[in-house]
Every structure is written in C-alpha cells, then in structure tokens.
C-alpha cells in the first residue's frame, strides 16, 4: 500500500513537473548550443530581458517599502478604527483574486488614452499605458499582497511589548523600528522580496495587456516567449524560457534557504 502511494506521488511529480522541465531544456538546445545562444543574443531578446530586469528592480523596491509600511499600519496603528482596519485588511488580498489580464485591463481603463486621467498625463507629456510606467503599475498591483502578507504574521507574533518598552525608554520612531522591529522581521522581509522578485519576473497577463508587447520597446521576457510561440519559433521561445526557468529555480532554492533561516530567526 505504502509503496503504491509513494510510486504514485513520484509519477505525478514526474508527469507534471520533471518531464515538462526536461523537455523544455532539451528543446532549447535542439539546435545545439549555438541555437540557444543565438536565441538569447537576438537584440529583441536582450532588450526584453533588460526590460524585465528594470521592472523587477523598480517593483521590488517600491513594494518592499510600501509593503512593510502597510503591514506595520495594519497591525500596529491605533489611528485607524478597528472596522476600517478589517476592511483594509481584506482589500489587501483582492489582487490575488483578480486575473492578471483583468489587472492589466484595469490599468488600461483607468489610465489609457481614452480615459480622462490618461488624457491629462498625455498633456503633461507622460505616457503611461503602452510604456514603462504602466508596466510597473500593473506589476505593482499584482505583487502588492506578497510583502504585506509575509510581514504581518511576524509582527502579530512578536507583539508590541518590546517596541513599547523601547519608546518608553525614550527611543524615537525610527530608532525603535531599526533596533527593535527590524531584526525580528528581516527574514520575513527577505522572503517577501524573493516572492516579489519571482512574481514580477514571471508576470505575463497584466504586462501583456498594458505594454502592448511592442518589440524592442515594451516587450518583456515573458511576452517575448509568447510572441515567439505565436510566430511558431518554439526553439527560440525555449531559450528565453529556459533562462527565466533557471532564475525561478534559483529563487526557489533561495526561498528554501530563507525559510529555514526564518524559522530560526
């Protein structure tokens, strides 16, 4: 009985994860290493990877900052009423429930060329939709809950006693945060950063809608994979996808390592 269950588990893992992954790896090298290298060093592929890198950096920075602050407010703030806090708390999760395509559609509807806000920005000379800012906003929307949800439970767990003690002893807000709160939340923040990087690296639906997928301008690595597949250039798609997958596996390993550190503090 036991053997059977273990064998079945291996079977599911093999069929669902291991076989597709190895198939993609061999597929990327189907034209030899040169084919893989050529697929990666196409100008549009290099540009797409650079765009992805830029989006990841900007989004991770903004989300870390605002995510930690939001978590602090949702757990600690006394100036928000309890009802309002509960409401805000449930709103944080909403991006999880929103399909990425709808997330992108929201940004287009709100800031696109047909909307009043979009017209306003256009007059100032800032292009948001079908340009870099829109892609950042879409990715921010999708990744917003990750950091908040990682930091909040830790804040709840450590309680506010130590922080109160610190401020009774005369420490100011910043000092209390850096000396008391930060050391206990840093691994949770680290974990949140990894999750955010992984998610924004792989974001596809929202970015595809918002960016317009313009080659050498707003194309990211994931949307390039999509375009390659649409153009029946599967080998080239495999090359870019393999690089993305390698990053994801690296992040996954980092996640496992952080998880262990997080448990120990």
């Amino acid at each position: 009985m036991r053997r059977l269950w273990i064998a079945l588990t291996y079977l599911v893992f093999f069929l669902l994860i291991i076989a597709p992954l190895s198939k993609m790896t061999t597929g990327a090298f189907s034209n030899g290493f040169d084919g893989f290298w050529n697929a990666l060093t196409r100008p549009e592929a290099l540009h797409a990877l650079m765009m992805t890198g830029l989006v990841v950096i900007v989004v991770t920075l903004l989300n870390t900052l605002f995510g930690i602050m939001m978590a602090l407010y949702l757990v600690r703030a006394t100036w928000i009423g309890r009802r309002l806090k509960g409401l805000l708390n449930s709103i944080v999760d909403l991006p999880y429930a929103v399909s990425p395509v709808i997330g992108g559609l929201m940004i287009v509807l709100l800031l696109g060329p047909d909307s009043p806000l979009g017209v306003l920005f256009e007059e100032i000379g800032v292009k948001i939709v079908y340009a870099f800012p829109g892609m950042v906003i879409a990715t921010l929307f999708v990744t917003f809950p990750l950091m908040v949800r990682e930091v909040m439970p830790v804040l709840q767990e450590i309680g506010s006693q130590q922080e109160e003690a610190a401020s009774t002893l005369g420490a100011y807000g910043w000092t209390t945060f850096w000396k008391v709160t930060w050391p206990s939340i840093r691994w949770a923040v680290m974990y949140g950063v990894i999750l955010t990087v992984a998610r924004s690296l792989g974001e596809f639906g929202a970015v595809l809608v918002v960016s317009g997928n313009i080659m050498n301008k707003t194309q990211t690595a994931t949307t390039l994979v999509y375009q390659d597949v649409e153009n029946f250039n599967v080998a080239a798609a495999g090359g870019v996808a393999l690089v993305l997958a390698a990053f994801s596996v690296g992040l996954l390993l980092l996640m496992e390592w952080t998880k262990r550190r997080k448990g120990v503090h």
Partner: protein, 271 residues
C-alpha cells in the same frame, strides 16, 4: 536632525502617502472596471454579457476549472499525505519541487506543456495516433490549470497533517478500528479544512489563469476559449467595455470565493 524627524507633519505625510498609494493602486482600478462595464448603461452591459461567445467562455472556464480543482484536491491530498507520513529517498527534493509551479512564470509553464504534449512531441504523436487531441483542445487547458494550481492543496493540507496528534489515531487503533475506518473518522476530518480552502484557492486561480492557458488553448469560441483569453482578445480588438463586462462577472465570482475562504478559515480558527 531628530527634531526635524519628529515633526508631526512627517507622520501625517507618511500616513497619507501610504493610504493614498494603497487606494490608488488597489481600490481605484477595481472600481474603475465596475464603473466602465456599466458606463454605457445597463443595457449594453447586458448585451455584452449575453453575447454567446462571452457567456460560453465563462461557462467553459467554470467547467474546466472545476475539473482541474477536483483532480488537484485528490492528487494534492495524496501527495501531502505521502510527503508528511512516509520516509523515502528524494522526499525533501520533491517537497521543494512542490513550489516550482508558483515560482515559474506562467508563460514558461504553458510553453513546457506545449513542448511536451504538442504536435511535434512523442506524446503528442502517440495521442494523435490513438485519436486523442490534447494541445489546442480542452485537455491541455485542464493540464495547464492543474500545473499552475498544483501547490495550493498540498500546502494547505500539509500543516494540518503535521499538527494531527498521533495519539488520536493510536487511540482509534487500540479500540479496534480498522485502517479505513480510522482514515474516514479521524484523519479525513482533520484534513478537510485544508482540502476545502486549498481547493477553493486553486479554483479561483484556475478561473483567473491566463499565461499558461493562452499558449496551449486553441481559442475556438465556445470550445476552447476561456474567459481570460476572451477578455484579452476584446482588449486587443479595442472593445474595452465588452472586456470589462466579462471581467466584472469573473471578478465578482473570484471575490465571492475569496470571501468564502476567509469564512472557512475564520470558522476553522474558532472551533
């Protein structure tokens, strides 16, 4: 420096910035979709929704997501059980691999399935010879959904199994209960909350999935066109109002599921 940092204006500025960021980034876009779908009046909303391509895509998505979720609930519970209860070579590697579908970009996931099962591959040819069609047909969409939502049930059931007190099981065995009876009366009830909440998360994710599905689905209206791909098509063909109408249905459904999950978890905590 400190006196400058302690100024009250800082606190106010900070609080307003954070809350404003939150409202502008999350709340405003969601309200925007609801507003836009009704912007041409209720009639046009109704027309967009009752367009056969639109409502068939919603129904198809629901159907396929339910199939994917059921498979995931069974396979996920089994895997969670094996990973917690049994010791075998490669266990910790499998346990780390569980999260891979979360970490992989969904478009990469879709490409992987396309390469493995596509017309040029070994499995694709074999299936074709047997008269099955996988890629660009419904089975591929279900497989893509299963792949993307794979970790949810496992990760929801695992902690429950870990918490389960072995003495409860032992007591049942001591009193002479058979293995299957112990499973039904002791183990299954303690796994059930995880199966339900994990299953619902998987369901809502499967409903929303786009990246993996768009690469493997044939996108034939009524047959293999799921709603997220339909919405994308409407946006591409410059019909944001029609896209918004279908989005509103999908969104409302997702929010309902999210609310249900919260209720289940709250009740689980209280009892």
């Amino acid at each position: 420096m400190n006196s400058l940092l302690r100024h009250k204006g800082w606190t106010w500025g900070f609080r307003t910035t954070i809350l404003l960021y939150f409202v502008v980034l999350i709340v405003l876009p969601i309200l925007g979709v609801y507003y836009n779908s009704f912007s041409l009046g209720f009639r046009s909303f109704f027309e967009s929704v009752t367009d056969p391509i639109a409502w068939k895509s919603v129904l198809l998505t629901l159907k396929l997501a339910i199939i994917a979720t059921l498979i995931n609930v069974f396979a996920g519970t089994m895997i969670a059980w094996v990973l917690i209860r049994y010791k075998f070579p490669g266990k910790s590697i499998l346990n780390s691999l569980v999260d891979l579908p979360f970490a992989l970009p969904t478009a990469v996931g879709g490409l992987m399935i396309l390469l493995l099962l596509g017309p040029g591959s070994f499995i694709g040819k074999a299936a074709e010879a047997l008269g099955f069609e996988i890629v660009f047909h419904q089975p591929a969409i279900v497989i893509a959904m299963i792949f993307v939502t794979f970790p949810f049930v496992i990760r929801a059931v695992q902690p429950l199994l870990e918490e389960l007190d072995p003495s409860e099981e032992e007591a049942a065995y001591t009193m002479g209960a058979k293995g299957s009876r112990v499973f039904r009366k002791v183990i299954l009830p303690s796994m059930l909350p995880g199966m339900i909440s994990g299953g619902m998360l998987a369901f809502s994710r499967a409903l929303a999935e786009f990246g993996a599905v768009v690469l493997v689905a044939g996108n034939i209206p009524g047959r293999t066109l799921v709603s997220s791909v339909f919405i994308f098509g409407e946006v591409e063909s410059d019909n944001p109002v029609g896209a918004a109408a279908v989005s509103v249905i999908l969104l409302t459904l997702s929010f309902l599921i999210l609310w249900l999950i919260n209720m289940v978890q709250m009740r689980g905590r209280r009892s």
